[in-house]
């Protein structure tokens, strides 16, 4: 019988490192890869929110309240000259709605890298350049509102950019906190077993049995109201993460339990490695991929929690801008019936949550390449 000779690619499998194997496996999950790109794109927005926004997110103006999204016309008589029409509006006396009419005779040219309100890029460099804009100094009826405006006449697109920044970073802090708690407590639980394990398991069970909303309400209501928006922001992330760590702890514990009896761990102990060394040098890398996967899956839960908290009036409050705050403003009948564009912040929420989920799934599928 002749020995099988595998093609070169498959031979690579035998000598590839753990991470390389994971990457190849991950690549097979096309949706996960696409999601990864989407996620990176969103974090790009987080960094460049000020640049992408073209209007001051807090600048209110009653005369442009509840403007529907404007269409950008890219061609002007055959030439590439992006522009919008000037829009005038008033409250219709019969229907009481604000009605806006675009004036095709008046074209406002769109500029790229235009000058707008001042901000500090990356928190350091003061500048006034934004991705798009119009000639500075024009009045309220001659501006762009790509996604329309809200009740106070504030540009929705710019607010959405800033909202993205806060919502996606809040998730990170919360997840980091969950991660620390989950790994530490799950690890202790799995590694030592016995009494420690039982105790921690009970705590987890208790925490999981209590409905989350009363817990949030109780904790959020106990926050001193004198705190600034920023301080409340951090407190909220901690509160959310207080419940999120249980899932991660379970995974970690499970992994520890499984690995405890593995040959390489036993041999490490026999050789004389300290416990710390055994844990961090030998065991943790073995399930790092699982951690990554679980963490990625925890992030969308954070985001959804933030929107839920805002709905309850417990989360971020105006003047802070987050997806939750924007959705809270849209959570009413008049928005659904008359100004539905205010519900657009739900779209990035959906996209990001789905993307993180697929990404996480792909990572988890790839996590155990052996």
């Amino acid at each position: 019988m002749a020995t099988l000779v595998l093609p070169v690619e498959d031979q690579r499998v035998f000598v590839a490192s753990q991470w390389q194997l994971m990457w190849w496996r991950f690549r097979k999950h096309r949706l996960a890869v696409a999601s990864g790109i989407v996620v990176l794109g969103f974090y790009g927005i987080v960094v460049g929110a000020d640049f992408l926004a073209y209007a001051d997110p807090n600048a209110s103006e009653a005369q442009r309240s509840l403007m529907p999204p404007q269409s950008i016309h890219w061609l002007d008589g055959g030439r590439f000259n992006p522009h919008v029409y000037a829009v005038k509006g008033a409250r219709d006396p019969q229907s009481f709605k604000r009605v806006y009419r675009a004036d095709p005779g008046e074209k406002i040219p769109l500029r790229f890298f235009a000058e707008g309100f001042e901000y500090r890029f990356l928190g350091l460099i003061p500048t006034t350049r934004h991705l798009i804009g119009v000639e500075p100094g024009l009045d309220a009826s001659r501006a762009i509102f790509v996604l329309g405006t809200d009740v106070q006449g504030r540009d929705l697109f710019s607010r959405l950019m800033y909202g993205t920044r806060i919502s996606l970073t809040i998730g990170l802090f919360g997840v980091a906190a969950s991660l620390v708690l989950g790994v530490v407590l799950g690890g202790l639980s799995g590694f030592y077993g016995g009494m420690t394990d039982t105790l921690i398991q009970r705590v987890i069970e208790i925490l999981r049995s209590i409905p989350t909303i009363p817990l949030w309400m109780g904790l959020a209501a106990a926050l001193p109201r004198e705190w600034s928006v920023l301080q409340i922001y951090f407190a909220i992330t901690i509160i959310i993460s207080l419940l999120g760590w249980t899932e991660l702890a379970r995974v970690v514990r499970g992994r520890f339990l499984a690995l405890r009896e593995e040959d390489f761990v036993v041999s490490a102990r026999l050789v004389g490695c300290s416990e710390m060394r055994t844990i961090f040098v030998h065991m943790v890398p073995a399930f790092m991929s699982h951690i990554i996967a679980a963490t990625t899956l925890a992030l969308p839960a954070m985001i959804i929690s933030e929107t839920a908290l805002s709905f309850l009036g417990l989360g971020l409050r105006p003047p802070a801008i987050s997806w939750g705050v924007l959705l809270q403003h849209a959570q009413n009948v008049q928005t659904v019936a008359i100004s539905p564009w205010l519900m657009l912040p739900a779209v990035p929420v959906i996209i990001v949550v789905m993307a993180f989920n697929f990404l996480g799934d792909g990572l988890r599928d790839a996590a155990d390449p052996y």
Partner: protein, 674 residues
């Protein structure tokens, strides 16, 4: 360049014309939603009373079956005759509405309590007329008020309604320290309590040591003497069904007996049980004199009220009122659901909990829902006001500025009211100082409407510079004079109210940037707001001053009056001083003391002098700007009304006021199904 300028000019001109045209059209359109003030009248001329009576068919059946006495006997000799707004109505039907839970008792009181006040307002909200009492006289220089009750009038279980019910209330409830630990300010003049006495079976008398000319207004308004339905559950109201409540009272049933009853019914004490049994919204067995009585209580998913067979209300043709048989209020714990149900036409007459911002959606669905939308603006000057806490102490620098009159005036000038009016009131409000509507009898004069209530950035900035806040930081915010950085003010708002106070405050925050003031907006929930106000910790508070159109029966939002106030108090320590006659709290500054003195005096003087005192009170408030008026006379607070098109005797505009218990001031007993 020139082309651009001319284009711009033309555009501006067009815009200006457009705005004028729109404003004109808006003013006209406001009238399609805002009607003419009208309402039914109480017939007081006994000669015009009907002699024969008719009743609802189902009651007639019961009379035939021998279960009820004949209608004439049930009404008595002195019916309360109400002339319907448009025509005599027909019996029958159900009136559907929505309420939000066991805390929403205002809902039922406002629609279905009659009212059962001894005296009440006419539909203009201006004049006091007889109601349950058929007449009254002031005697002895205003020290005594004699009330004549209606002969033969009965409670809803058929027992007579007489002066004994008043005596029982006064002697056994009001004076019982377990039931009413603190005597009510409504029963006192200049701090001295009065007494309530029986003259004969159908006559009672209030007696006070000093003249109390305000008493008729107090009996008509929403005060502690405003009838059993409103205040019975607190041991107040002026009268109570003695024959029923005696069984729960230790003096008549014995201490041990009432305690045992309470324990068996799982109450913490006999007092709790007594109040539970006196609660018009909770106890279907309570005898009442309201036109509808509770059948399924407020703490169930459906609060149902049915006609009271012994109702003393009739129309001029002798038909016993109400026309409508039953009122059904269904529970919806979410305001969006209530609004959506109103939009869908699931309610027949609803004015409570409806959101002004949804007016376009209401209009859109009028045909589909079979209803018409009305707007009832209030007569009070502040649909939205901002109160300064003048007795604030926690931060001396802030306290100093809050007590500087020109500082407050400058802040008032920094608010762009037109912007707020357009955004949050859809243009239906009136930018105004705190003074009530022009036709209100206490209005100090048209020049006070806009006093310190316009947008004048130049003047505001000048004034702030002049008082000593000229130094600003790099971002243009004024600096404190004690060197601790930026001058920052905090405003407390409540979420989930009839108005979007938080959002309005946000807009004001942006506006005040232009005068260099940094405003921090803090939305809090009610309990926390109460605690902070009580602890004198709040700086500014946003609220509305509804009720202030009846200055003397509802002064809560005019000056520091209540020691307990939610969100906004103009000075808790001053309120304490006022309520304790100077023994507690902190002494207010001179001008406020002047205001308080005038206010107090008004209770004991005849009407003409009282009106002048009222005007003076408003004058001082408007000049000193203790409270910033933002937008007034708007319909945001219970002024958005939907009514089915086939409901009759509906006014095109009603007096929107807490004292008027709107819509009771429009006498829902006369509403009927066409």
């Amino acid at each position: 360049m020139r082309m651009l300028r001319s284009r711009r000019t033309i555009a501006l001109a067009v815009a200006a014309v457009g705005i004028v045209a729109a404003a004109g059209a808006l003013a006209q359109s406001k009238s399609t939603l805002i009607g003419k003030l009208e309402g039914p009248e109480v017939v007081t001329d006994a000669a015009k009373f009907p002699r024969t009576f008719r009743e609802a068919p189902q009651l007639a059946e019961q009379v035939k079956a021998g279960k009820l006495p004949p209608v004439a006997e049930r009404i008595g000799q002195d019916p309360l005759v109400i002339k319907p707004l448009h025509e005599i109505g027909k019996y029958g039907g159900t009136w559907r509405g929505g309420f939000t839970g066991p805390a929403d008792f205002w809902n039922g009181y406002r629609c279905c309590s009659g009212p059962d006040h001894l005296l009440f307002w006419d539909y203009t909200g201006d004049k006091v007329t007889p109601n349950i009492a058929k007449g009254y006289e002031m005697q002895d220089g205003g020290r005594t008020l004699v009330l004549h009750l209606r002969r033969g009038m009965k409670w809803s279980d058929g027992k007579p309604f007489t002066a004994d019910d008043f005596v029982f209330w006064f002697e056994d409830i009001y004076r019982n320290k377990d039931l009413v630990p603190t005597p009510s300010a409504a029963m006192a003049i200049n701090g001295k309590q009065g007494v309530l006495e029986k003259v004969d079976t159908y006559t009672v008398k209030f007696k006070f040591p000093e003249p109390y000319y305000m008493l008729p207004d107090v009996l008509a308004g929403s005060t502690d003497l405003a009838g059993q339905a409103w205040r019975g559950a607190f041991g107040l109201g002026g009268y109570a069904p003695a024959h029923y409540l005696k069984q729960f009272h230790p003096k008549y049933a014995g201490q041990a007996e009432v305690e045992k009853k309470a324990k068996d019914a799982k109450f913490d004490s006999w007092v709790r049980m007594f109040f539970n049994r006196s609660d018009w919204s909770l106890n279907p067995e309570l005898p009442v004199i309201t036109p509808w009585k509770t059948v399924t209580p407020i703490n169930t998913p459906t609060w149902t009220l049915e006609r009271n067979p012994y109702s003393v209300f009739v129309d001029p043709a002798g038909n016993q009122l109400p026309y409508i048989d039953r009122v059904v209020l269904t529970l919806a714990e979410n305001l969006e659901v209530i609004n959506l149900r109103a939009i869908a036409g699931e309610y027949d007459f609803q004015a409570r909990h409806l959101d002004l911002a949804k007016v376009p959606v209401f209009i859109e669905n009028q045909a589909k829902g079979g209803y018409k939308l009305y707007l009832d603006p209030g007569d009070y000057g502040g649909d939205m006001i901002i109160k300064f806490n003048l007795s604030y102490e926690a931060d001396p620098e802030i306290a100093k500025w809050m007590n500087t009159t020109d500082f407050r005036r400058a802040l008032a000038l920094g608010i762009d009211r037109d912007q707020l009016n357009e955004t949050f009131w859809l243009g239906t409000g009136t930018p105004s100082s705190v003074v009530p509507a022009d036709n209100n009898k206490y209005n100090p004069g048209p020049e006070y409407r806009k006093l310190w209530a316009t947008l004048d950035l130049k003047k505001a900035n000048e004034m702030l510079d002049k008082v000593g806040l000229a130094k600003k930081d790099a971002e243009g915010f004024r600096l404190r004079t004690d060197g601790k950085g930026r001058l920052r003010l905090e405003i407390m708002t409540l979420g989930g109210q009839f108005l979007q106070f938080t959002q309005i405050a946000e807009m004001i925050r942006e506006q005040w940037k232009k005068i260099g003031i940094d405003l921090v907006v803090q939305e809090v929930e009610r309990s926390l707001a109460l605690q902070r106000t009580a602890a004198n910790e709040q700086q500014l508070g946003a609220w509305n001053n509804d009720g202030s159109e009846h200055l003397f029966t509802f002064p809560t939002h005019v000056f520091p009056f209540d020691t307990i106030a939610v969100v906004a108090s103009s000075g808790p320590l001053y309120a304490k001083w006022f309520q304790s006659a100077g023994t507690q709290g902190k002494e207010p500054p001179a001008r406020m003391k002047e205001l308080m003195a005038k206010f107090k005096r008004a209770y004991g003087v005849p009407e003409k002098e009282r009106i002048q005192l009222g005007k003076d009170v408003w004058k001082i408030t408007a000049e000193e700007v203790y409270i910033i008026g933002v937008i007034g006379m708007g319909p945001a607070s219970m002024g958005v009304r939907v009514v089915k098109t086939n409901m009759g005797n509906i006014p095109s505009r009603q007096y929107n006021s807490p004292d008027g218990k709107t819509p009771t001031i429009s006498r829902p007993v006369t509403f009927y199904w066409k």
